[in-house]
Every structure is written in structure tokens, then in C-alpha cells.
């Protein structure tokens, strides 16, 4: 959707932020448990952005990154994705596998499945938190992983989201590693208009006109 998020007011946006904060809190805890490193558990920066600006936010468009995407199904539909810059992905691989691919061409089945697992754990913990909060059935479907230039990964996520549904907005957050500031990630949540409205109603936030 083009333009700003005029269909949602301040109250709705703060509810969206709160949902993202809680969901991401669960996801970062899961990531910490998995990697044995402590990630920033403070309220993450949450930005709600127009969907077409997503590819520009994540970083230098031609830098290599790792993207993990999965569609959301259930009462609420949409797409969620985590995007890690290449160096951050390497640091995650090192903490999980003790080693990491040096170049994109070095990614083997083990490295790829480690990222799929990261995606599973991050996304399902995020979805469970949202599901508990709203008492709605929301589940993540099996993830897919891409390692490519940032712009190609993020535009593909956006195209996939827009192809299937009318999307509301993208919720962007950043995760920082407490010990190693170089490890960072971006989380994108792209719910459909219907899905987001339903969640807002469940939270008691009046639907925007």
C-alpha cells in the first residue's frame, strides 16, 4: 500500500508497537537460549513503515544478507521475516556451529538448516506471544531462507506479501547483541489489513474508521 499509515490512528499504532515489543521480546529470548548469547531485551526500536520503504530500511541495497521468511496462517494472515546482515549471520553461525561460511558460495546444507531453525524458533516464539495476547489462532508456516543482496531479498518478501493479500504495514525492529554490537537483525511483520484489524479489536483498541 502506498502512502502513510493514515488508516491507523495513534492509539492503534501504539497497540501495534506494544504487540511487536512483546512478540519480539519472546523471540529474542529464544534466540539467546539457542545461541547462548544475550541479546538486547530492552524495548526494541519499532517502526511502522509504508511497505514500499522496507527495502530501503534494512541497509545498503547491495550488501549481502540472510533473509528468513514465512507466511503466517490461521485467524490472522500475513508474512514475517528476519533479515541479518552477512557479518551478523556469520556471527550467529559461529555461535551455533562453531564455524561459519566464509562466502555465500560456501553455504552448505548444515549452515542453511541452522538458519531455517533460527527462523523457526524466532518466528514461532513471536507468533505464540501474539496468539496468547489476542487469543487468536496464529501460526507460522515452515520458513524459507535466502542469502543474497539485501534489496533482492527484501523486495522479494514485499512482493510475496503483496501478491497474496492487501497488506497493512510493515513493522520493523532491530535486535542487538549485548556482547558484540556487530550482531544485529531486522524483523519485519507484514500483516494483512483484515488480520491487523482483528488483532486490534481483540486488544480492545477501536478499529480505525
Amino acid at each position: 500500500m502506498t502512502g502513510d499509515n493514515t488508516q491507523y490512528g495513534l492509539l492503534e499504532m501504539s497497540a501495534v508497537r506494544e504487540m511487536a515489543n512483546i512478540g519480539l521480546g519472546h523471540a529474542t529470548t529464544a534466540l539467546s537460549n539457542l545461541t547462548g548469547r544475550s541479546f538486547n531485551m530492552e524495548i526494541p526500536k519499532v517502526e511502522t513503515v509504508c511497505i514500499e520503504k522496507v527495502p530501503d530500511m534494512v541497509g545498503n541495497p547491495e550488501d549481502v544478507c540472510v533473509g528468513i521468511m514465512m507466511p503466517i496462517e490461521g485467524d490472522v494472515t500475513g508474512h514475517i521475516a528476519f533479515v541479518f546482515p552477512w557479518d551478523s549471520a556469520q556471527s550467529i553461525w559461529r555461535s551455533l556451529l562453531g564455524t561459519c561460511p566464509e562466502t555465500v558460495g560456501d553455504i552448505d546444507e548444515l549452515a542453511a538448516s541452522a538458519m531455517l531453525e533460527i527462523g523457526n524458533i524466532l518466528n514461532s516464539s513471536f507468533m505464540n506471544a501474539l496468539s496468547n495476547m489476542t487469543d487468536l489462532k496464529i501460526h507460522a508456516t515452515p520458513p524459507v531462507v535466502s542469502v543474497d543482496i539485501c534489496y533482492a531479498v527484501t523486495t522479494s518478501v514485499v512482493a510475496e506479501a503483496e501478491l497474496n493479500e492487501v497488506v497493512a504495514l510493515a513493522i520493523e525492529t532491530r535486535i542487538f547483541d549485548m556482547e558484540d554490537v556487530e550482531t544485529r537483525g531486522y524483523f519485519l511483520c507484514i500483516p494483512t489489513v483484515d488480520g491487523l484489524d482483528l488483532m486490534l479489536r481483540r486488544l480492545g483498541v477501536a478499529e480505525a474508521a
Partner: protein, 169 residues
């Protein structure tokens, strides 16, 4: 020698020019970058298509996002500044499936393939001569076009930079 400063053709953008020009389409994943060129009038144009077709009942927010309305609009803008559609030469790249790891990716995700089909259909309908294409696969592509020397180059993470075709060849 190419002298024009490259125009960045972002998602859903359409750019046209007469005379010397240069275009960059960064990081095409499932998106497609299409360049058209009329050698006689030196009119060129590029579009960065994101989706195969407009959706019934949904407003068209940006014409250039959709192959079915975007490609004809590119041609319309080019003919408006002198191009003749029957003379147009075409080259396009993109339509990849960058999410290559995971269960059942082939069946689940097909925007790239659908974009390729949609652009190919439009090009056929318009009767443009296709010089070269580089579509499908699992690699994100960056397309650089320099009208001055006619070169259309494609860059990928795995295969580096290669010449796709020459619009003046």
C-alpha cells in the same frame, strides 16, 4: 563512451529519456528490470516491475509495479517523446526465486516466475524485438544499462558482472 549519470529505477518506477542515458535496477529478486530502446530516435526507458498483474477490486497505487499495466505505460511514455513501438528493442532480467533453502520452496513461491511470464507476454503483445533475457534461477540481479555504448550488464553475488547484450549491437 557513456557519460550520462545513472538513474536509479526503484521498485515500481518508470524512467524514460531521449538521447544519452543510463539506468540502474538494483537488487532484482522476484522483480524484473526491463529496458526498451528505439535506436532510430534514441529514446530509451526502463521499468522495475514487482508483480505480474493488478488485482481486481484493488486500487492501482503505482502503475509501474504491475507488468500488465506498467509495460504498456512505459511504451506510452516512450512514444510520447518520439519512440515508435514497432522499432523497440527489449532486454530484461530478474524473476528469480531468491528463497532457495527450505521445504517446498518451488511450489510455495512463484512471484518471480509469474513476473517473467507476465513481462514476456506484454513484450510479445507489443511486438518488441527481444535481444536478451536473464530470468529465473536463485540469484538476485543488479541490471545496469548505459545507452551511450548500448551495454546492458547483469551483476550477481555468485557470478559477478557480465554483459547481457548490447542495444546497439
Amino acid at each position: 563512451m557513456p557519460t550520462a549519470t545513472a538513474v536509479m529505477v526503484g521498485m515500481g518506477d518508470i524512467h524514460v529519456a531521449k538521447g544519452d542515458a543510463a539506468y540502474n535496477c538494483l537488487g532484482l529478486g522476484s522483480c524484473i528490470g526491463l529496458v526498451l530502446f528505439d535506436p532510430t530516435t534514441q529514446v530509451s526507458g526502463m521499468i522495475h516491475v514487482m508483480l505480474p498483474e493488478t488485482f481486481p477490486g484493488r486500487p492501482v497505487d503505482k502503475v509501474g509495479k504491475y507488468a500488465d499495466v506498467g509495460v504498456p505505460e512505459l511504451v506510452r511514455q516512450m512514444t510520447a517523446i518520439g519512440a515508435v513501438s514497432s522499432r523497440l528493442l527489449a532486454a530484461y532480467a530478474g524473476g528469480a526465486q531468491v528463497f532457495k533453502f527450505g521445504a517446498g520452496v518451488e511450489s510455495k513461491l512463484d512471484v518471480g516466475a509469474r513476473n517473467t511470464i507476465a513481462v514476456t507476454e506484454q513484450i510479445k503483445k507489443l511486438g518488441c524485438k527481444v535481444l536478451a533475457t536473464d530470468t529465473g534461477g536463485n540469484c538476485g540481479r543488479t541490471v545496469s544499462v548505459t545507452i551511450g555504448d548500448g551495454n546492458v550488464r547483469v551483476r550477481t553475488v555468485n557470478n559477478g558482472d557480465k554483459l547481457l547484450c548490447n542495444l546497439r549491437g
